[in-house]
């Protein structure tokens, strides 16, 4: 099975309403753009941040943020490419 470190954050930009709640909980990996939408670090989530990442995911009011195995995350949608 995939190791926890292989997970990446993925935003569904159709669902995301730019609350920015995720960025507050995981500033190491999520910042917001000038319109308030999250820019997510597309690299694998380091083990030390895995817990915070899960908290950010559950804090999203519209379930737009997900933690997915790396192979599921399309490369283009990292927000920092």
């Amino acid at each position: 099975m995939s190791e926890p470190t292989a997970n990446r954050l993925l935003v569904n930009p159709i669902e995301c309403s730019g609350h920015g709640a995720c960025a507050e909980l995981l500033p190491e990996m999520i910042t917001t753009d000038e319109w308030g939408y999250p820019m997510v670090d597309g690299r694998p989530v380091p083990p030390a941040l895995e817990r915070d990442a899960r908290r950010a995911v559950s804090a999203c009011p519209v379930l737009a943020l997900r933690l997915v195995p790396a192979e599921v995350a399309p490369e283009a949608r990292t927000g920092r490419a």
């Binding site: 569904n12 930009p13 159709i14 399309p74």
Partner: protein
């Protein structure tokens, strides 16, 4: 008696010339394999009927079971001709794989003839002249992935005559019982996004022609949750010929890395446009009409890249060569802007169109594209502020890779390339001047933006 269904899969075309007019032409078989066009019948502007089609190619060479065609498609190195050049065999394999896992629903194949790019005419031309080649490809792809349903989707407005011709072609095939899988003819609304594959699947499922979030990919869970293969109509036509003549034949045209040929829509500076089929790797100067062509060339349409003609003339039509100029062959659109037009004004007008065509579903796209369009309007006018270029660059960066579809990415590439290619023009505008001498717009832009939800249906 040979029924069309049993024709050999690997007829070498030089024994059975693709083009009747090629008969008796001196030269060995390998030369024959390179003869183009492969897809479009020559010297006619009416649809090729089933009888003529079968006389030329034989019937669709069914393999008799799923999966059997995948190896040939892989060996041929066929990539998608709808713009993204994705390897076809990998999509076939993904659908087969998903079908094996899902068990509930059989796969669906969708032929994408939406041709939503306003500057492109190659798909409509192919569907008009050689409908049976596309329909053969659709059947063969359906067999290859074990689909029990096939849909051919065409652009609603431009499709008037094409739609009638396709209905006739489908009736002919019905009569000849040549198809294994029933084909439904559908229309995509005349929206730029309608041809994007998740938007197309969304529409075919009864929803609006708006993209949906990936994952799941449509190959995994598409129309009615079935594994869905979406291929451009030209891709399917190539597939139909690979099934007949094999990978070696296909590779006789094109480059080692990017084999085969592709249809191109060429729009010359004098306003004349034509559809042509050329091998991948063709020097752009051959397509543009010589090395000393002037002006600026748009390679790849409205998600494409502006390149100064002099520089473009040294490139070839393949990703390898074009990558260096930040471009790709895309769906084969090449437009030469006349020196009488202002590249910035033309770009601004298209950028506005692209912003209006954004579905507005994703925050960065909803916010970024209209701002980019507004900034370009300013750059297209007299004495723009200096920081406006920086704004465009920043916004282009902010929208890239952050939408549910690649519309913002393509739009950003298009406008960024304009800032480079038209830097000289920008300098003029900063001094309150403009080089344009014609007041007529050059690039085709549809007049009617979507206003209501109905416009996406």
């Amino acid at each position: 008696m040979t029924s069309p269904m049993t024709s050999a899969a690997h007829d070498e075309p030089w024994e059975e010339p693709l083009d009747p007019t090629a008969r008796g032409v001196p030269g060995d078989g390998r030369r024959a394999a390179r003869w183009l066009p492969r897809l479009l019948p020559r010297g006619t502007d009416v649809p090729e009927d089933l009888r003529a089609h079968v006389a030329r190619y034989g019937g669709p060479p069914y393999r008799g079971a799923a999966q059997l065609l995948v190896g040939d498609v892989r060996a041929a190195g066929l990539t998608g001709r709808g713009g993204a050049a994705f390897p076809v065999h990998r999509k076939l394999a993904a659908v087969l794989d998903a079908a094996r896992r899902s068990r509930y629903s059989r796969p669906v194949v969708v032929a994408n003839g939406a041709e939503s790019e306003p500057a492109s005419e190659k798909d409509a031309t192919l569907l008009w002249l050689a409908p049976h080649l596309v329909l053969d490809g659709l059947q063969l792809a359906a067999e290859a992935v074990g689909a029990d349903q096939a849909i051919l989707c065409v652009h609603a407005h431009r499709g008037g005559d094409v739609g009638i011709a396709l209905r006739r072609a489908l009736a002919e095939r019905d009569g000849a019982q040549i198809d294994k899988v029933p084909v439904e003819l559908a229309e995509a609304p005349p929206r730029f996004l309608a041809g994007q594959e998740t938007a197309l699947v969304n529409r075919l499922g009864g929803g609006p022609a708006l993209p949906t979030f990936v994952p799941p990919r449509v190959t995994e869970r598409g129309l009615g949750n079935a594994p869905t293969l979406v291929q451009n109509v030209e891709t399917l036509a190539h597939l139909a010929l690979i099934a007949r003549y094999g990978p070696r034949w296909f590779r006789a045209a094109g480059t080692e890395l990017e084999p085969g040929s592709m249809l191109c829509t060429l729009r010359r500076a004098d306003g004349v446009s034509r559809i042509t089929e050329v091998p991948l790797g063709t020097p752009l100067c051959d397509l543009l009409g010589g090395r000393d062509v002037e002006g600026t060339v748009l390679v790849g349409g409205y998600h494409g890249t502006w390149i100064p003609a002099g520089k473009a003339a040294a490139l070839t039509l393949d990703s390898q060569s074009l990558r260096g100029a930040g471009a790709s062959p895309g769906a084969g659109i090449l437009i030469t802007l006349p020196p009488t037009a202002c590249g910035l004004a033309e770009t601004a007008r298209v950028a506005r169109y692209l912003a209006l065509e954004s579905a507005g579903q994703c925050g960065p796209c909803l916010n970024g594209l209209p701002r980019i369009a507004g900034a370009l309007d300013e750059l297209a006018g007299p004495r723009p502020r200096r920081r406006t270029v920086e704004d465009v660059q920043r916004w282009a960066g902010l929208v890239t890779g952050r939408g549910a579809c690649h519309h913002p990415d393509g739009t950003a590439r298009f406008v960024r390339s304009a800032l480079i290619a038209f830097a000289g023009e920008l300098g003029l505008h900063e001094r309150g001047r403009c080089s344009a001498t014609s007041r007529k717009w050059f690039l085709p832009v549809p007049a009617d933006p979507a206003r209501t939800e109905e416009d996406w249906m």
